[in-house]
């Protein structure tokens, strides 16, 4: 009698434990999918914002000054980039959805960068632009996470600084072109207002460069 009770209890315990674990895996899966969906919707939004700026530019007969929403768009692009990086860490390696999101993100970034360069040339506003080349692999770039931290802080302290991050881990063609253009060999590398600086820059050093 005792043995049968034990066997029943063992099976029940195993069933309950398995249920907990499968629920956990399922929950994880559902959450990650919902985050992916959230980012896809976010990207659609960014796409519209970007197109809206282009439309305003054209309406103003290619006058880039006084166009609404440009600084906000850069902040939103940065937020998108952070979230996408996080999604990458919790998704399987080389997830096609994540890759697609990232490639299109680099396109939006470059568009914005080119637009800001025109604004600086033609308008009285003065924005600093920083192109940031990095890798998430610690073997390739040890101090990249610190560099990212410094740049985030810099942007909070100097809202007129536009930061554009490009990951060397990706296969984005846009990033490939930029890499060739600026001859990026060492990571991290920042291009501040057109000038290239290789290696880690502290927040103070960056502040001096954008001043």
């Amino acid at each position: 009698m005792g043995r049968r009770i034990n066997r029943t209890n063992l099976l029940a315990a195993f069933a309950i434990t398995s249920l907990i674990f499968f629920s956990g895996f399922y929950l994880n899966d559902v959450l990650t999918s919902s985050k992916l969906t959230e980012l896809q919707e976010f990207q659609d939004f960014l796409n519209v914002e970007s197109a809206s700026i282009e439309a305003q530019y054209d309406l103003a007969l290619q006058n880039p000054c006084n166009i609404a929403g440009i600084t906000e768009l850069n902040a939103e692009l940065n937020e998108f980039g952070d979230k996408l990086t996080y999604l990458e860490t919790i998704s399987p390696d080389n997830d096609i959805n994540v890759n697609n999101l990232y490639n299109y993100y680099t396109v939006l970034e470059v568009k914005h960068y080119l637009f800001m360069t025109e604004v600086n040339a033609k308008c009285s506003d003065d924005y600093s632009t920083i192109l940031y080349f990095y890798s998430n692999e610690p073997q390739i770039c040890e101090s990249c996470s610190l560099q990212g931290t410094a740049l985030t802080a810099l942007k909070h302290l100097h809202p007129n600084t536009m930061v554009y991050s490009f990951s060397m881990d990706s296969d984005s063609k846009v990033v490939g072109t930029l890499k060739q253009l600026y001859d990026v060999t060492i990571l991290p590398t920042v291009v501040v207002n057109g000038k290239k600086y290789e290696g880690y820059q502290t927040r103070k050093e960056l502040e001096n460069l954008v001043a």
Binding site: G2, R3, I5, N6, N9, L10, A12, A13, F14, I16, T17, I20, F21, F22, S23, G24, F25, Y26, L27, N28, D29, L31, T32, K35, E38, D82, K83, Y86, T89, I90, S91, P92, D93, P138, E142, S143, S145, L146, T149, A150, T152, A153, H156, L157, Y200, T202, R203
Partner: protein, 432 residues
């Protein structure tokens, strides 16, 4: 379907969590199944009881212990108290004990050290049908014997154990132990239901004298003689029982240093005695005791050691990482960190490990509360429970590593009067 089944999770951690939850569920289900017979059988026959107290340098607590033994609710003509002071105590233990002779307490003095020796000496002179071993720093509620001794009506029962809790925990170390003991109270009753009690605490346990007559007294070379005795009883095919509400209070070590010493003896003794009785591990010889409970004990220890080592390794790697980052960065920009705090719900992580850990904590809480309720001991703090989880695992792992190290490389050690020189290194070098 789960597309990221096990990615980014440590599979070993998942295994440990699975095993822990599985065993906890099993224990709780066993508890619920047998809850209706959690009470003790009534004492029908007042058997003669001999309480044996071994004492070495216990002048502080011996008087209280003897008084406590005298106060136990049992017919006076069926209760015998024997105190054996041994190892030539350097304090007033003997003198204080002798002052109770006028109340019928029999006091002896033995030259040889070692608790086993003292108990065996007392055993030879005991006249009771039931033998109760009692430590000199233990306090039993007066109703313990009435709760425990009913089990001896079953002729296959050779031992009855109580619910051991700590007395008036004050220091942090004591509060942590209090929670630990309460878990032990719950688990021991579960093991009773499963017929798999594997420790009869020397602090207070009742034995049937005929077992000693037939199978010998305590092993004087063993540093955890109470554990050895229990395994001996189990290996001979007899029953060991437990009363969840027979409360016995023991004074727990106040500091972590003293606790370390105690646990080192326990763990080393566990290793030694387990090897001696290896037929009770991972076999089907003694039912669920040998096929599940003893293996679980060993597996839990192994898991703890591996997890702990991994944690130390990854912590070490993190430190190295931080140092190299600092070198690369040439500065530690702390104010920047503040701007990097992400408060978006997007970053909230809910994975299998978190869910499993949360569930395990809930199961643990259930066991803890059940022990409190059924033992009748209300003096434990709930906060102690949380501290237990966090703190105890680390300390527990360290002690186990130390014990394993001793088993491999230790040289002559002394544990309360018993000399131990049984390490692997010693054995190998003595053969050379």
């Amino acid at each position: 379907m789960p597309s990221i089944f096990l990615s980014h999770q440590d599979p070993f951690l998942i295994l440990v969590l699975f095993f822990s939850i599985f065993m906890s569920c099993f224990f709780i289900l066993t508890f619920l199944k047998h809850k209706h017979r959690i009470g003790n059988p009534k004492v029908k026959k007042f058997r003669k009881v001999s309480i044996l107290i071994a004492a070495y340098n216990e002048e502080e607590g011996i008087a209280d212990t003897i008084r406590n033994a005298l106060a136990i609710d049992w017919p006076k003509n069926k209760l015998e108290i024997i105190v054996v002071e041994n190892n030539q105590s350097t304090d007033n233990t003997l003198k204080i004990a002798k002052s109770f002779e006028k109340r019928g307490v029999r006091v002896f003095s033995l030259k040889e050290g070692g608790k086993g020796n003292a108990l065996n000496y007392a055993l030879k002179r005991a006249t009771g049908e039931i033998i109760v071993t009692m430590d000199a720093d233990t306090y039993a509620r007066p109703d313990v014997l009435k709760k425990m001794l009913g089990y001896f009506d079953d002729p296959e029962v050779m031992a009855a154990s109580p619910a051991i809790v700590t007395l008036k925990p004050k220091t942090f170390a004591q509060k942590v132990q209090n929670v630990e003991y309460l878990f032990g109270v719950f688990l021991r009753k579960i093991f009773h239901f499963l017929g798999a009690v594997y420790v009869t605490p020397g602090a207070f346990t009742a034995y049937r004298k005929t077992f000693f007559d037939k199978h010998g007294g305590y092993d004087t070379t063993n540093i955890t003689e109470d554990f050895e005795m229990c395994l001996r009883i189990q290996s001979k095919g007899y029953k060991v029982t437990n009363s969840i509400n027979a409360l016995v209070f023991t004074i727990s070590p106040k500091t972590f240093r003293a606790l370390h010493k105690q646990r080192l003896r326990w763990f080393l003794g566990f290793i030694e005695t387990s090897l001696q009785y290896r037929q009770l591990f991972f076999t089907n010889q003694r039912g669920i005791l040998s096929s599940l409970i003893m293996p679980t004990a060993v597996i839990s220890i192994a898991f703890t050691l591996v997890l702990f080592s991994k944690a130390i390794y990854s912590f070490g790697m993190d430190i190295l990482n931080l140092v190299s980052k600092y070198n690369a960065a040439r500065s530690l920009d702390l104010t920047s960190w503040i701007y990097n705090i992400k408060l978006d719900l997007f970053y909230l992580r809910l994975d299998v490990v978190m869910l499993a850990t949360a569930f395990l904590i809930i199961l643990g809480l259930f066991m803890f509360l059940a022990a409190r309720r059924y033992s009748g001991d209300k003096d434990t703090f709930a906060i102690g429970y949380l501290i237990y989880i966090l703190f105890y695992i680390i300390i527990f792992s360290l002690w186990w590593m130390h014990a394993v190290y001793f088993k491999l490389f230790g040289r002559k050690l002394r544990f309360g009067g018993v000399e131990w020189n049984n390490s692997v290194l010693t054995k190998l070098t003595s053969r050379v």
